[in-house]
Symmetry: C2
Subunit: 193 residues, 2 copies
C-alpha cells in the first residue's frame, strides 16, 4: 500500500513551478503548492523538506548517476571513465524534460540565493566525481582535473541543451562540448622544443 | 595625508587570523581584532565591512588580475591569453604569502559557511574570465570552456602550492598543472577513424 498518493510528487513539482512563475518564488507558500496539487501539506512534507527542495530534489540522483557510473565503468582509461559518467548523467535529461528544465533554470538564475545553491551543487558534484575517480585508483592531480573538466563539460552542455535542446540530445551536446574542450586546450602550434 | 593608520590593514589581517586560530572564528569579535591590532573599531570598519571580509578582501584584486590580464594580453591565441592570465594571477601569491595563505585555507575549509563563500568566489572568477574572453572576441562555448579550465588549473594549483609551496612557485605549479590537464584530456590512443 502506497504511503503517499501516487503521482503526488510530480504534481507537486509542477504546481510549485507554475506558482513560482505566476506569483514569484518568495511569495509562494507550501500551503499554496499543496492546494494547487490537490494534496495536503502533510503530503508535501512527506516528499520535500521545503519549497526550495522542490527545485533541488534531483541533485542527489544526478550525483548518484555520476558517481555510480565512475565506479561501474568497464573502462580503465581515466578519460573513458569520465566519458562514461557524462553519458550516464545525460540520462537524467531526456528531451521530454526540457520544458521543466527550462522553466526551472529561468527561475533559479533570476534568484540569487537559488543561483548560489545551484553553483554549490556543481562544486559538490565535482568533489564527488574526484573522490570516485580516486577510488578507481586515479591519482592526484589527475582525478581533480578530470572531475572539474567533467563538470565543466556538463555545465556548458546543459546551457546549450536548454537553449537549443529541441534539436540535439544532452548526450550529443556533451560529446561535442567535450571535443570543443579538448580543441580549445590544444596549442595552435606545437611549443618550441 | 593618510586617511588611516599606515600598516593598519596588514596588522588587522594578522590579528584577525591569530584570533580566529586561537579562539575560533565564531567567537572572535571585531572589537577584539581591533584591540589586538592596536587600532580603534572605526579604523577596522574603514578597511573591512565585517570580520569575514578580512579573509576575502583579496578576492576583488585577484579577479582584477585575471580580468585585466585577459584584456591586456598581447596574444591572439585564446589558449595563450588564458596562460597569460594565470601567470598574472600567480603574482598575487609570492612565496612569502604562503604562511598567511596556509593558515587562511585551514580556517576557511574547516568552516562550512566560509568554504561556501570560497567556492562561490571561484564561480565568480570563472564567470568574469569568460566575460573578459568574450570581450576579446572569443566565442562560446570556447570562452566558457577556457574560463572554467583556467579556474580549474588555478584551484588545483593553489592546493598543490599550499601543500608543497616551499619548493615551487605558484607560477611553476600552474604551468605543470596546465600540462597535466591537457594530458589527462588526451585520449590514450587515437579514436577510430
Amino acid at each position: 500500500m502506497a504511503r503517499w498518493e501516487p503521482g503526488s510528487r510530480e504534481r507537486l513539482q509542477q504546481a510549485a513551478l507554475d506558482l513560482f512563475a505566476e506569483q514569484g518564488y518568495d511569495e509562494t507558500t507550501v500551503a499554496q503548492i499543496a492546494a494547487r496539487a490537490g494534496v495536503t501539506d502533510r503530503t508535501f512534507f512527506r516528499q520535500f523538506s521545503d519549497k526550495r527542495e522542490v527545485l533541488f530534489a534531483g541533485s542527489e540522483r544526478l550525483l548518484a548517476l555520476f558517481v555510480d557510473a565512475v565506479a561501474a565503468s568497464p573502462a580503465t582509461d581515466p578519460l573513458q571513465i569520465t566519458t562514461d559518467a557524462l553519458h550516464a548523467a545525460a540520462e537524467f535529461f531526456p528531451q521530454d524534460r526540457l520544458p521543466w528544465s527550462r522553466t526551472r533554470a529561468d527561475l533559479v538564475f533570476t534568484h540569487p540565493a537559488l543561483a548560489e545553491r545551484e553553483q554549490l551543487k556543481m562544486v559538490t558534484l565535482a568533489s564527488a566525481v574526484a573522490k570516485a575517480l580516486r577510488e578507481r585508483g586515479i591519482g592526484e592531480p589527475a582525478a581533480s582535473l578530470l572531475a572539474h573538466s567533467t563538470i565543466t563539460v556538463f555545465q556548458v552542455s546543459f546551457d546549450v541543451w536548454l537553449r537549443e535542446g529541441d534539436e540535439r540530445s544532452m548526450q550529443d551536446v556533451q560529446r561535442e562540448t567535450f571535443d570543443a574542450l579538448r580543441s580549445t586546450l590544444t596549442p595552435a602550434s606545437p611549443p618550441p622544443a
